[in-house]
């Protein structure tokens, strides 16, 4: 079967399947989870049983249910963040490429300074002032992440802007908006889509990391990073409680990465390392 004009290898199929399963679980959570996300069903860190397939967490809630509900929160927040970051970053990046030197200089210098502060550090600073509600979280990470997207979008748009067909549009007298939307955007899609996948993974891990540090998604909302944090102590008893949500995070990211890898490989050339002699 062909997708995007080429046959996906096994790894890409695995990735696509993983992504599909996760999305399904997130959407159908209320119907497939055995319990709700905040009810106590047994004692602390009870081992797996017939009712509670993965056992319970640090205050007796069913791990499996929390895992399923956690999918919604973690995936949705990461998705919202990435979409927002992309909208900001791509628009700004394209503007910098076509809007002339002054606009470019202003935007680029500003972004350069923002990029000089590590993402985590900057996020921590902002969160320390505004707190960690969901809107603040999404807005902050989106704003910071958009700088990385800006860099790529600008580079891609610059390459396209210097082509003759864009010059043709300019010579015709087309406006800036038309050039960005009809000439540049369609040609920028492949690298942007790949980058979307990569940024999604990054944001996904980032939100989980923040939640793990206690600064991300706040309880009692179920999310995987927070679940790792809550159940961290269990590791000293050799229990798998904090490992399950961590595995859930890992598998999602691997899945998306596999698909992105395949997407990128469609367009690559063999290098000189493989010449026949």
């Amino acid at each position: 079967m062909k997708l995007f004009g080429s046959k996906p290898p096994l790894s890409a199929w695995i990735g696509l399947t993983i992504m599909a399963v996760y999305v399904l679980v997130a959407v159908l959570a209320p119907w497939i989870a055995p319990f709700s996300e905040s009810e106590s069903v047994a004692g602390t860190w009870d081992p797996p049983s017939a009712t509670s397939w993965l056992g319970t967490d640090n205050i007796g809630r069913d791990l499996l249910s929390r895992l399923i509900y956690g999918a919604r929160m973690t995936i949705a927040v990461a998705l919202a963040t990435t979409v927002l970051s992309f909208l900001i970053g791509t628009t700004a990046g394209f503007l910098a490429a076509v809007g002339g030197r002054a606009v470019d200089l202003l935007l680029s210098r500003f972004v350069d300074v923002m990029l000089s502060i590590p993402l985590l550090i900057f996020a921590l600073i902002i969160l320390s002032v505004f707190g960690s509600s969901i809107p603040v979280l999404v807005l902050t990470i989106a704003a910071l992440d958009s700088t990385r997207v800006f860099r790529l979008a600008r580079a891609v748009a610059m390459n396209i802007t210097v082509t003759e067909f864009v010059e043709v549009a300019r010579l015709r007298g087309e406006g800036l908006w038309w050039v960005m939307r009809r000439e540049i955007l369609p040609n920028a899609m492949p690298p942007l889509i790949a980058e979307f996948g990569l940024r999604y993974c990054f944001n996904f891990l980032f939100v989980a990391g923040l939640s793990f540090l206690g600064l991300g998604i706040q309880p009692p909302l179920a999310d995987w990073g927070g679940m790792v944090r809550d159940n961290a102590q269990a590791i000293t008893f050799g229990l798998m409680a904090p490992i399950w949500p961590a595995i859930a995070i890992a598998v999602m990211t691997i899945g998306v990465n596999l698909v992105v890898d395949w997407f990128l490989s469609i367009n690559s050339r063999p290098s000189g390392a493989m010449a026949e002699m």
Binding site: T163, E164, F165, E167, V168, R170, L171, R172, G173, E174, R182, E183, P186, N187, R269, P270, S271, G272, A273, M274, A275, E276, M277
Partner: protein, 540 residues
Amino acid sequence: MADELLRIDDLRITSVSGNVLVDGVSLTLKSGEVLGLIGESGAGKSTIGLSSMVYARAGCHIDGGRIGLGGVSLRELPVEGRRAVRGVRIAYIAQSAAASFNPAHTLMDQVCEMPIRHGLMKRAQARAWALELFRALDLPDPDHFGERYPHQVSGGQLQRAMTAMAMSCRPQILVLDEPTTALDVTTQIEVLALLKKLIRDYKMAALYITHDLAVVAQVADRIMVLRKGKMVELGETEQILHQPKEKYTADLVAERAAGEHFAVPSIAATGQAVLTVEHAIGAYGDVVCLHDVSISVGRGQTVAVVGESGSGKSTLARLVCGLLPRKSGDVRLHGQSLAPALKDRTREELRQVQLIYQLPDVALNPRQTIGEIIGRPVSFYFNAAPAEVAARVDELLTLVGLPTDYATRLSTALSGGQKQRICIARALAAKPDLIICDEPTSALDPLVADDILRLLKKLQDELGVAYLFITHDLGIVRRIAHRTAVMLRGALVIEGPTQAVFSPPFHPYTEKLIASVPELRTDWLESVLAHRNAAPAVVV
């Protein structure tokens, strides 16, 4: 045969995606002989050249055939044996010198690398030989030239250095892959002479790969014509040029010969000129690149602007379009002055001057359908309804000789010639009075270029559109231009009716330009060199 050096039998090379790049080609090369490989792009000439060293680029695979050097089958040798042949017995000279040198090492290191690493010479000996080669190749300051890095020397010097590198092991065979294609005509002649002398003095055999029939006629003893990986014809140079047996060969010869005669009657400009450029000065920042240029184009006329690279011809086009705002002077369209910068011009002014580019691949948006590309100027300039636009698109496609069902297709899968036709259709969609053609046929194969030229001429006759035709090819100028302007380093050297410019008495630069274009006779190079014997060689 006794002194048969290289013998390739039934060579077959395919790409990993299954395309056949070379299909059953056989050739022999005797010691001291030069064999020219000629053909259009995609003919497989470079691939064959590389295969003589049993080398295939990534993505290609030598499927079948025998490659014999001095009787030994190279394909059957182990890896070490094949490696020992490269550079030592067969050396490769690439098209681009800048791409062949490693920016991190000195020229001397790279020139001496082969003999030292192959165990043929010790370092001191290799250096001495390199110095001798530098002198033989007329390089400046030969004793210290080798200490420089590739980015510190000029393009022409780098090319000579590449030749020295190829000669460092005194190979028996040289594979020359389009060695003069990237050079200006005036430089080309020096390099051609040098190569011919080297081959003769060192008694080497050579495979000379090119797409220019006139160039290969100067150096080759025999010529092989290739097309899409298959051999079309093989024969002595004189026979190929004057009595070609195959139609394809005859077409190639005819196309090249056509540029040697005048075809267009020079007509005087009638009525008001479409475009008038008066004393225009153009500059990038502080650097002036156009000095006081004045030129005019009449209705339905073709005015050619010729010059070598750096002459400013493309800059002139950009100045007229408004992409490079002029510093002073005037540009008038139908008598009305145009604003210097593009953004200050009206839509109507922009409509009347259209541009066609050299590389059709990058001039078309790969994500738009052909109908969208051609239709946009119609809807943009004339506010036409969609039905009207579609009808006009069909009309234009027919006008340029393309089927109307192309309107829904993307342009990416089409050939160079077809893409250029789409560019022409797009330009015509605006119903312009003037089309600026910036080397529209330079990137196309000769036979395809011929078609495009005929099309442009036909369109001019039918629609009365004027052309400002920028080119470096004098053959094209003679065929289609009513008037010609010659440019050198940003200034206009001479301007007038084509026949007058190209007939004596010549302006010295025009004379030089004309003399540097190879003609389709084998003794051309000798006669030009004999003519120049008094003057010292121009070293680049």
